[in-house]
């Protein structure tokens, strides 16, 4: 099967112009690929560049050298040569990103935040409301909170809304940055089950999870970024 993401000689160096042009060489020569149905955990000590790598794949950080190719609808997109609106399109349709913290428009209700993902993907249908309700119920978000904006929710609740917002969509690729960090044991199990069902649907998942026991339950492979840091 064709890999969902391919990187070639990917390199990232931060140049801090206002700090005497200090250069921070973070990552180099990363040749990475992931296939549909795989779940790859990024590992390495704090500061090795796990988040930096993920952010480059999402187009959020600009690689210093190398290339990133994203597969969507049987076509590879060279991320670094994509126009802005094409990157945004890929983010709406190809790559779902569960960040560590929920970022939303302030006054929009929880339910609408989730349904907006379907709207963006043009998959809002008559039975969508049932689908959304079902997912929110599965994630133990109480029904009386659905019409409220999640700004005032607890950390764990916000994290689950964040997961619902991305998991409702039909993304062939998912990035999960510490998806269970704020969750208790019961909710962690629920989220892991959701991740497994995504894997069964051949979604390619890249994740950062510190807790090795949780990691081992879902990941098919580890990718240690310490091997690619400059010394």
């Amino acid at each position: 099967m064709n890999p969902s993401i391919k990187t070639t000689n990917l390199q990232k160096t931060f140049t801090l112009h206002n700090q005497n042009s200090t250069e921070l060489k973070v990552l180099k020569n990363i040749n990475f690929s992931i296939s549909p149905g795989e779940c790859v955990a990024l590992t390495g000590k704090s500061g090795t560049g796990k988040s930096t790598f993920l952010r480059m794949l999402y187009g959020n950080y600009l690689p210093t050298a190398g290339s990133i190719e994203i597969l969507y609808n049987d076509t590879y997109f060279d991320l670094m040569n994509c126009l802005e609106h094409q990157v945004i399109y890929l983010r709406k349709h190809a790559i779902g990103y569960v960040s560590q913290f929920l970022v939303v428009i302030p006054r929009v209700s929880t339910f609408d935040i989730v349904s907006n993902t379907l709207k963006q993907q043009n998959t809002l249908e008559d039975n969508s409301n049932e689908k959304i309700s079902h997912l929110l119920e599965t994630l133990n978000i109480k029904k009386n909170m659905w019409h409220l904006p999640p700004m005032t929710f607890s950390g764990g609740e916000q994290q689950r809304v964040n997961i619902a917002k991305t998991f409702i969509g039909n993304y062939p690729i998912l990035f999960l940055d510490e998806p269970t960090s704020a969750l208790d044991k019961e909710n962690t199990e629920i989220v892991l089950e959701l991740i497994k069902s995504k894997l069964n649907k051949n979604v390619a998942i890249i994740t950062i999870i510190h807790d090795a026991t949780i990691r081992n339950q879902i990941c098919t492979r580890e990718f240690n970024l310490e091997n690619f840091t400059e010394v």
Partner: protein, 260 residues
């Protein structure tokens, strides 16, 4: 496969005020539904650029190609007649002015202000015009009961909403906003930003927003031009530019934000 219509194509746009550089050698493209932010400190040329783009001043050099009709090639705005330009301004573009007093007729009621752009579309039916005005006030979350009140009695936030209603009512292709939330207090600003985001998402209209407020820009825009001394020093996806700034000026700018 991911193809969108190009609304605007700016090439080597330059404007001098005498010897003084207003903006220099600016090029970018804008696609349907895209929201572009222009940031930079005071005097960096943001407003000059916006004025050139929106036809308020003629640039010294360069091209501003605009999509007047999708079936036709883009046309250089510097070369079309003033009449055509004015007709585009009334319908296809809109400028949300920083100071609502510049964008509204203060002695004409809220409804009348919106009506002006609707009547331009050859609608000469009072009830239709009024209903459309009400519809737009509703969309911008204004109280419909204030349709016959004069904007001179509105708060700053309300005046800004009215300006936005007025401009969007003619269904424009491209909207320019000059510091849309300048001078508003924080809570009013936040609500206005919500409204703009929600409406724009629904309408798929293209926008160019000039602001020195990075929070506003981060919230509203898809891509960004960072200007300094009349030139674009960095451009790209908004979150990319702000999270991973490459140019020294952008790094200075992003590191200057106060954390709350």
């Amino acid at each position: 496969m991911i193809v969108k219509d190009k609304i605007l194509e700016v090439k080597n746009l330059t404007h001098y005020y005498g010897e003084q550089v207003g903006c220099e050698d600016i090029s970018f493209d804008l696609y349907q539904g895209e929201i572009l932010g222009i940031v930079g400190e005071s005097g960096s040329g943001k407003s000059t650029l916006l004025k050139c783009l929106s036809g308020q001043i003629s640039p010294s050099q360069g091209m501003i190609n605009f999509c007047i009709d999708k079936s036709q090639p883009l046309q250089d705005l510097c070369k079309i007649s003033e009449q055509k330009k004015r007709s585009l301004m009334r319908k296809e573009w809109g400028i949300v002015q920083q100071n609502p007093r510049d964008g509204l007729r203060l002695r004409v009621s809220a409804g009348g202000n919106i009506a002006e752009r609707i009547i331009n579309e050859e609608i000469k039916n009072y009830s239709k015009i009024r209903n459309k005005a009400l519809e737009w006030m509703d969309k911008t979350e204004m109280e419909k009961s204030r349709i016959d009140d004069f904007p001179v009695n509105f708060s700053g936030g309300m005046q800004q909403r009215l300006q936005i209603s007025k401009i969007l009512s003619s269904n424009p292709k491209l909207v320019y906003m000059d510091e849309p939330t300048g001078g508003l207090d924080v809570s009013v600003q936040a609500k206005l930003l919500d409204t703009i985001t929600i409406i724009v998402r629904d309408l798929n209209v293209s926008m160019i927003i000039v602001s020195h407020d990075l929070a506003v820009v981060k919230f509203l825009t898809d891509k960004l031009l960072v200007m300094k001394s009349g030139k674009v020093v960095e451009s790209g996806l908004t979150d990319r530019v702000l999270d991973d700034p490459q140019h020294s000026y952008t790094q200075l700018l992003t590191s200057s934000i106060l954390q709350v």
